[in-house]
Symmetry: C2
């Protein structure tokens, strides 16, 4: 497990997650009065979006908390999907997707190991 931990620390997805945490930490330390961001439009948002920078600020912090502490509950994801904050929905979609795939692949690896033991005649 120690060796696989060491390898995982070089994983580029992990680096992307750390990079994001670091950017949000810098944002929090800079933005001392978040209310100044109210009603300031975000020119990078998609056309028609009514999100202002204050809502962006809250969303970015919420996602950071999710990245650091665990998964969003399924029900919450359902409730929020389809809303204007498309990046957030896509984050939930891919995080949940990757999580489910990892569980399926882990199960597949365990099944294959068991099947091999059957083939060589070692009962489990």
């Amino acid at each position: 497990m120690q060796s696989s931990d060491a390898k995982l620390s070089r994983n580029s997805l992990l680096l992307a997650l750390r990079c994001y945490s670091s950017a949000v930490l810098n944002m929090e330390q800079t933005v001392l009065l978040p209310s100044l961001l109210r009603d300031v439009p975000d020119e990078h948002n998609e056309p028609g979006s009514s999100l202002d920078l204050y809502q962006d600020y809250l969303m970015l912090k919420a996602i950071r908390n999710m990245v650091e502490s665990g998964m969003v509950p399924y029900e919450e994801t359902q409730k929020r999907s389809g809303s204007e904050d498309d990046l957030e929905s896509r984050f939930h979609f891919h995080l949940r997707g990757l999580f489910n795939i990892m569980a399926a692949l882990t199960k597949k690896s365990q099944n294959l190991t068991g099947k091999y033991l059957d083939i060589i005649g070692i009962s489990r």
Copy 2:
């Protein structure tokens, strides 16, 4: 950065990735003669799949290597998508998706921080 690293180590996605690495390591240590898995059908595969357990074994190891060392090149993903190994395609899709989303969110956080500095009159 140290504090955010400590928090990331509790992240459930990271735990899922470690759990997968561990299952594949156990598989490798158990399956000493992978060729015994040739032509053994995988009853868990989707109907119509021609993958045998040997191909599953290679796929599970390839994904573990990707999880531990970094991203799959975009071109390789394109080439492989649409093939029978659906779990692998979905893994690539969500890993690439999450990676792109994290980059977009990081950029958004940096833009917001810059905009706040503009608002309070601190030039960058």
